[in-house]
């Protein structure tokens, strides 16, 4: 509460003071005075005085935000060379002088401040009670490049960038339809971060769009720096370990999801776009699943699902079986485990825990370090933990194999946020396995399963279409049927306009007597 009050008081100081609510005065000096006070110590804000004809004027912009070449060419130069004194009106300036495509006007001072901070350029002219705002955005930003977190062998190579408008354009490139709607919202008192909410009209349920808007409007915060902020504010179960909103760097993934009636939220300043509602199975699909031969992706999707099971339960099962249910291990395997464990001083649970923690630490070290050092960490880990620890008799070889398998299993999940929650869950299961044996593992797994079945993402059951079961949607869940068999959109979201494509699109040679058949 205290913090909130503080936030409010500081807000009052900056924006809602009486001065900024004022309208623009005819006297340029007054305006500039107020503005200069507001932008005090903001060395990047440029106040460029100029005289157009014999009228004083000021150009305001943030250095580095704008394309200075464009301002010079289409604003500054034109204004300075303007000699017809009498005709300096706002309309004249926008229509005849400033040759920039996006121009608007305002009469409020706080609009001036906002627009300057939004990388627009503002022209204040003495004697005018209006400010002219024109868009000459520029400056150095990262260009469109290949998404690094979701690489694919086949598929588009472009990924989202940090610039909102570029991102919306990337999606618009995929869906060139007037039904693709892009709503805009500003969130964050200080950051004024622009959000774009994308949906396809007629596919996304209108009540879902409204729900998303209302959840986004709830957010009162000083700053939004990444889409993760939004995600945590609008998800359904805040305490759940499982991500209920998908994020992606790929425009094609966003486009595909929009066409299935989902909603995307693009946040300015991050390439990670939110897709909602999300189901559990969505996190085991990659965009490439739909691009290459479907046979292999039927296999790969089943493989991913089974490896998720391994990633969650294998350490638990291993610890449980070796400490409580030795009769379940095949005799020769048991003897070799016994042989390799002969010199190990720790109980099985402790041994597995040490290795799991070492593995997680190694992974974390590898991610955060610069790439060149990261390689060194990899070698160190492989040598020290993989080999030396076994030879020194601190851990046994079967345990190392088990940990490695679990690690690989967690890497098969295509979505990073699902992968980390799965990785976390194996610790409680391992503890349960160490305490109660297989009984504990099964119980823990059931709790996880119950939780998954209970979760909802924006009204959609998280485990859909397995629970509740929807046979129609199963064709694109654990397997992926060929495109010519996917005639309908998933029926949980899209209620009308479910037909995606024409019937009987499966290629086949023309039947005898049909047009085009060889005679």
């Amino acid at each position: 509460m205290k913090k909130l009050k503080k936030l409010k008081s500081s807000k009052e100081k900056s924006l809602s003071s009486d001065e900024t609510h004022k309208e623009i005065q005819a006297d340029l000096k007054d305006n500039i005075e107020i503005l200069k006070e507001l932008f005090q110590d903001c060395t990047d804000v440029v106040f460029r005085p100029l005289i157009a004809g014999n009228v004083h004027a000021y150009l305001l912009f943030v250095d580095g935000f704008v394309d200075t070449k464009a301002i010079e060419l289409h604003g500054l130069k034109q204004l300075i060379e303007e000699n017809e004194v009498n005709r300096i009106t706002a309309d004249f300036l926008t229509e005849r002088v400033i040759s920039i495509s996006s121009v608007s006007e305002t009469i409020k001072l706080d609009d001036v401040v906002k627009n300057v901070l939004k990388a627009n350029t503002v022209l204040l002219v003495d004697g005018l009670t209006k400010a002219i705002i024109f868009d000459a955005k520029g400056g150095e930003r990262r260009g469109v490049s290949e998404p690094t977190t979701e690489s694919a062998v086949r598929g588009p190579r472009e990924g989202f960038t940090e610039i909102l408008r570029v991102n919306t354009a990337l999606v618009r490139h995929k869906i060139r339809s007037n039904r693709l709607k892009i709503l805009s919202k500003d969130v964050g008192e200080e950051t004024q971060t622009n959000l774009a909410i994308l949906y396809v009209e007629g596919l996304a349920p209108p009540e879902l769009v409204e729900e998303v808007l209302s959840r986004v409007e709830r957010i009162k915060i000083d700053g939004i720096l990444e889409s993760g902020y939004i995600e945590e504010f609008i998800e359904d179960s805040a305490w759940s370990m499982f991500p209920q909103i998908q994020n992606t760097e790929r425009p094609d993934t966003v486009a595909a999801n929009l066409l299935e009636g989902r909603i995307a939220i693009i946040v300015d300043g991050t390439p990670f776009v939110l897709i909602l509602p999300a189901t559990f199975w969505q996190f085991f699909q990659s965009s490439e699943d739909y691009y290459d031969r479907f046979h292999i992706f039927i296999f790969l999707r089943l493989l991913r699902i089974s490896f998720v099971f391994i990633a969650i339960t294998l350490p638990g099962i291993y610890v449980a079986v070796t400490t409580y249910h030795q009769e379940m291990i095949p005799t020769s395997l048991l003897l070799s485990i016994a042989a390799s464990r002969e010199a190990i001083p720790f109980p099985m649970f402790v041994e597995a825990l040490i290795m799991e923690l070492a593995f997680e630490a190694l992974r974390e070290a590898g991610i955060r370090l610069p790439q060149i050092v990261g390689q060194a960490v990899g070698i160190l880990g492989a040598l020290v933990i993989g080999q030396a620890a076994v030879e020194a008799g601190i851990v046994s070889a079967p345990t190392v194999i088990m940990i490695a398998l679990t690690g690989i299993a967690s890497f098969t999940i295509p979505r990073y946020n699902m992968s980390i929650s799965v990785r976390m869950l194996r610790f409680p299961l391992m503890i349960l396995g160490g305490m109660f044996g297989l009984f504990g593992v099964v119980l823990g797994f059931l709790i996880i399963l119950t939780h998954l079945c209970k979760l909802r993402s924006f009204g959609i059951p998280y485990f859909w279409p397995i629970a509740p079961m929807s046979f129609k949607a199963l064709k694109d869940t654990l397997i992926r049927v060929p495109w010519w068999a996917m005639n309908e959109r998933p029926n949980q979201l899209v209620k009308e306009d479910v037909i995606r494509q024409a019937d009987h699109l499966m290629p086949s040679p023309p039947k005898a007597g049909e047009e085009g058949s060889p005679s």
């Binding site: 070796t322 400490t323 409580y324 030795q326 009769e327 005799t331 048991l334 003897l335 070799s336 485990i337 016994a338 042989a339 390799s340 464990r341 002969e342 010199a343 190990i344 109980p347 099985m348 076994v390 030879e391 020194a392 008799g393 046994s396 070889a397 160490g434 305490m435 109660f436 044996g437 009984f439 504990g440 119980l443 709790i447």
Partner: protein, 384 residues
């Protein structure tokens, strides 16, 4: 909040059920892979176990393998005596630092002397304890059982493993089958028999194990060991000759060997004057693996002659075991069990009581239908 409390309660309820205090580390257990039961002095049992020693199995980090050269294999043999099996186990346990764990027992070997006394009590005692598996193989040894456990076949880690593999490839009768047959009317027990052997003369007394013959039981007591020929008869009747080689003579000192691919037995019942008569039809196919006499098997006349020899020999094998068993009142194939199933009323009222006395006079005809297929892949193309 309420839900969380209920969940917490459920979790706490778990604790009294089981817990880490029941934990047993792998290196606190002695995995028994084979056990033997012998007749001890004064109506006692001599119980022996075979336990592999993990430290000499050569896992990484341990002191390394070896140990085989000093005469003792990488396993431990311990024997204990007691008035019952459990006492024998406790006798051994008192001398071991690790807890005996029977869930991985591969074979249970019963010594010849003990088998003659009866095996029902042993089986009951051994297999009522929860760690026991019914998929364990039951074996009767010629001589003492502990001798078989002490054998060190070079192929496998331990003799128990070797005996298990051999029993599996042979008659494949597990303890479960034996226990079932033990309680079946009109069917007697057949259990594979092992004997010590060796390649060198000084090793003859127990370096390797040999399993090829059978122990035939009357009720739960050992009656006799079969001869080699009778063993073949048993394998034919059990339909277990598949994937085995079978030799028969075709002319003087010349044999032909066939690899059996198919072996099926169908008993047909005929009741003549109220007495059952059986016609057993045996179907055998195989492919030629050795043709010592170098006969032209493609020739129909030769082929028929060869087949005749083969059928005759199979028939003799079967007859020899049937005759020996039936004269002793042992129903080795389970004709009685067949009657129990097919003519239950008559079995209950007429035949059951004096089945043993009826057996020696039971008329059994054996009809063998053999074929040799794939005759050309002998590798020998030279023809006369």
């Amino acid at each position: 909040m309420k839900k969380a409390r209920i969940l917490l309660l459920i979790l706490f309820l778990l604790i009294p059920l089981t817990g880490c205090w029941d934990r047993t580390e792998i290196n606190d257990l002695a995995f028994v892979v084979g056990t033997g039961v012998d007749k001890g002095p004064k109506q006692q049992y001599r119980f022996s176990v075979q336990v592999p020693l993990p430290s000499s199995l050569g896992g990484t980090g341990s002191s390394g393998g070896g140990g085989g050269t000093s005469g003792e294999g990488p396993f431990l043999i311990a024997t204990g005596t007691g008035r019952n099996i459990r006492e024998g186990v406790e006798d051994i346990q008192a001398r071991l630092s690790r807890k005996l764990y029977f869930a991985h027992r591969r074979v249970l070997v019963i010594g010849e002397d003990q088998a003659k006394e009866g095996i029902r009590e042993i089986l009951n005692a051994v297999f009522t304890q929860p760690q026991s598996r019914l998929s364990t193989f039951l074996i009767v040894s010629k001589g003492e059982a502990v001798k078989m456990l002490k054998a060190q076949p070079r192929m496998e880690l331990s003799s128990a493993e070797a005996m298990r593999e051999m029993a599996k490839a042979g008659a494949n009768l597990t303890v479960m089958d034996v226990l079932q047959n033990l309680d079946r009317q009109g069917k007697s027990l057949i259990i594979p028999m092992v004997e010590p052997t060796g390649t060198l003369k000084k090793e003859r007394d127990g370096k390797e194990v040999l399993m090829g013959r059978f122990a035939v039981f009357k009720a739960d007591k050992l009656s006799f060991f079969t001869s080699k020929r009778e063993s073949h008869g048993i394998l034919w009747l059990l339909e277990r000759m598949k994937k085995k080689s079978y030799s028969f003579s075709v002319s003087k000192n010349k044999e032909m060997t066939v690899h059996i691919n198919e072996n099926s037995v169908h008993p047909n019942l005929k009741i003549v004057n109220g007495n059952p008569e059986f016609a057993v039809s045996v179907r055998v196919t195989g492919h030629l693996v050795e043709n010592e006499a170098n006969l032209r098997i493609e020739d129909p006349a030769t082929y028929n002659k060869i087949i005749e020899n083969m059928e005759e020999k199979i028939k003799n094998d079967i007859h020899s075991i049937l005759k020996r068993a039936h004269t002793q009142g042992i129903d080795i194939y389970g004709f009685g069990w067949f009657l129990f199933k097919r003519h239950h009323q008559k079995w209950e009222h007429e035949w059951k009581q004096n089945w043993k006395s009826m057996l020696p006079h039971l008329k059994v005809t054996v009809k063998v239908d053999a074929d040799i297929q794939r005759t050309t892949n002998t590798g020998n193309v030279e023809r006369n």
